[in-house]
């Protein structure tokens, strides 16, 4: 099969377009979340997505439409729990996460057990993305990236030193709320690419790979985006050619990129010290 044939399929084009936008989104937010030690918020919110998808399937509502408000509200819930209930972020994420899973299992049970639809959301299938989903992914990705662009320096300042940011007149409560809400939207979109179970990988892996090689904050964001795009595009290609699950291929490629970047950094360190 030649490369022109690969790009000629409509479903491949849709997968590549939607996957690329979501990859950019995940890598950008992933860098900010990992640096703020909120890496697992993606995992927690993905579990909430599981509950909201089950809710959608039970009531025959389009799961994506239902998931976005539910997950965004849950992301704000995590934030409020950490601020008001005197508990650390990881505990708040764990609480909301288990609540999402419990709700999902309960709803699936009420609806007559797990079905194929729910399984598809758990492990994703970017190759089956519809035109409407591509348009939704592009629109929401552009919206999230635009918001990140306008608040970029404030988010950067809070990420580095929240106390100093607040003393610079930055409304840290508002920026934190924006960041977690954007994460909620991103997690819902990512569900289609790698599935609920692997969402946090797409947030964490490009970021930690970039940390191995980047030499500034700006380059960290750019390099993470490059690795994220590469993994999604090559993952879709591999999945198609070798008949593998796309989500798992994307995540494993991301992990290989991390290993390569880690090895390169160590080699460079040894060369510099000798």
């Amino acid at each position: 099969m030649d490369i022109i044939e690969f790009f000629g399929y409509g479903f491949i084009q849709r997968a590549l377009i939607a996957g690329s936008f979501i990859a950019l989104l995940c890598s950008t937010l992933g860098v900010l979340l990992v640096l703020r030690r909120l890496s697992l918020i993606g995992d927690g919110l993905a579990h909430v997505t599981f509950g909201s998808v089950a809710l959608g399937l039970v009531f025959r509502v389009y799961p994506l439409a239902l998931s976005i408000p539910v997950v965004v509200a849950s992301s704000l819930g995590i934030l409020k729990l950490t601020e008001r209930a005197r508990i650390y972020g990881d505990a708040a994420i764990g609480m909301v996460s288990s609540l999402g899973i419990a709700a999902g299992v309960l709803l699936a049970s009420v609806a007559g057990g797990f079905n194929v639809d729910l399984f598809g959301y758990l492990f994703g299938n970017i190759l089956a993305v519809s035109e409407a989903e591509v348009v939704t992914a592009i629109a929401l990705s552009l919206l999230v990236l635009l918001i990140v662009y306008f608040y970029f320096h404030e988010i950067f300042s809070i990420t580095f030193d929240e106390e100093f940011a607040k003393a610079s007149g930055i409304n840290t409560a508002r920026i934190n709320a924006i960041l977690v809400m954007l994460t909620g939207v991103t997690v819902v979109l990512t569900m289609k690419v790698v599935g609920i179970m692997l969402t946090s990988a797409l947030l964490i892996l490009p970021a930690v790979t970039s940390f191995q090689v980047a030499r500034s904050f700006r380059s960290t964001i750019i390099i993470a985006a490059v690795f994220s795009l590469l993994s999604v595009i090559s993952g879709i290609f591999l999945a198609f050619v070798l008949n593998l699950p796309a989500g798992a291929s994307i995540v494993l490629l991301n992990f290989l990129f991390f290993i390569a970047a880690f090895a390169w950094r160590n080699l460079r360190g040894k060369r510099n010290s000798s």
Binding site: L35, R37, F150, Y151, H153, E154, F156, S157, F160, D161, E163, F164, A165, K166, A167, S168, G169, I170, S210, F211, A214, R215, S216, F217, R218, S219, T220
Partner: protein, 251 residues
């Protein structure tokens, strides 16, 4: 007396019903160089956090440049150097230049963007702190003293009228420490910058500051060093020899 650059009126701060600061009232005038001193747990950091709106008073009020901190718009008039961050990530992928530039956000409206002309301000303050050569180095690759100079540069970048420094010299070597205090003295004398310096080093603060604010949950002493050094009540509080140690470096 003119309105203080910083006014504190009957300030009380409580944590979990435990009083950390009790009934503090004082004014800091433009051009003052105040050494804020007290034992561990005396409420020094809590007090300056209340000036910056990081902690809300339980009772009383704080006014900075005539506004309560929650309503203050002109944050660029304040330079702040926090105590070493407990959650500082030494692997944070950011250069010295990027971190120093964050200080400029205080003077910007939404959307807070850094312009090309801001690079000149960054270069100027890097030169002032003698860290130009480190501009493109990652913050985690620097020594503790170098990192502290970066944070001082970030606090100075807007040429603030009020500098609030929380134990700024802890990680500095003696030479850098001396030059830093020299820089503060010049800013205070030549540019009339008001300095509020938190320290627990009572032995040397008299060498630099013109006023002493000694607290231990409440104000023990606030006034000029001259007054402190001849105060009988302070001699009684600290003991004559301790008072002498505090005063011997003040000229």
């Amino acid at each position: 007396m003119p309105l203080g650059i910083l006014s504190v009126d009957r300030l009380c701060i409580e944590y979990n019903a435990l009083e950390v600061l009790s009934d503090l009232s004082f004014d800091v005038q433009p051009g003052d160089y105040v050494g804020l001193v007290g034992p561990n747990g005396s409420g020094k950091s809590t007090l300056i956090k209340s000036f910056l709106g990081l902690i809300r008073p339980s009772k009383g009020s704080v006014s900075v440049f005539g506004s309560c901190p929650a309503e203050l718009k002109e944050w660029r008039r304040i330079g702040y150097l926090p105590q070493k961050m407990p959650s500082f990530n030494p692997h944070f992928p950011s250069t010295v230049r990027e971190i120093v530039a964050l200080g400029l956000l205080a003077g910007k409206c939404f959307p807070k963007r850094l312009k090309k002309s801001d690079a000149a301000a960054v270069d100027r303050v890097l030169e002032l702190m003698n860290i130009t050569g480190l501009a493109d180095t990652l913050i985690g690759d620097l020594s503790g003293g170098q990192q502290q100079r970066v944070f001082i540069a970030r606090a100075l970048i807007n040429e603030p009228e009020l500098l609030i420094l929380d134990e700024p010299t802890t990680a500095l070597d003696p030479e850098t420490r001396e030059s830093f205090f020299g820089l503060l003295r010049d800013l205070n004398r030549e540019k009339n910058t008001t300095v509020l310096l938190v320290t627990h080093d009572l032995g040397t603060i008299g060498e630099y500051a013109t006023k002493l604010l000694y607290i231990d949950k409440k104000i023990i002493f606030y006034g000029s060093f001259e007054d402190f050094c001849v105060s009988d009540s302070m001699a009684q509080y600290f003991g004559t020899s301790s008072q002498h140690i505090i005063c011997h470096k003040h000229h």
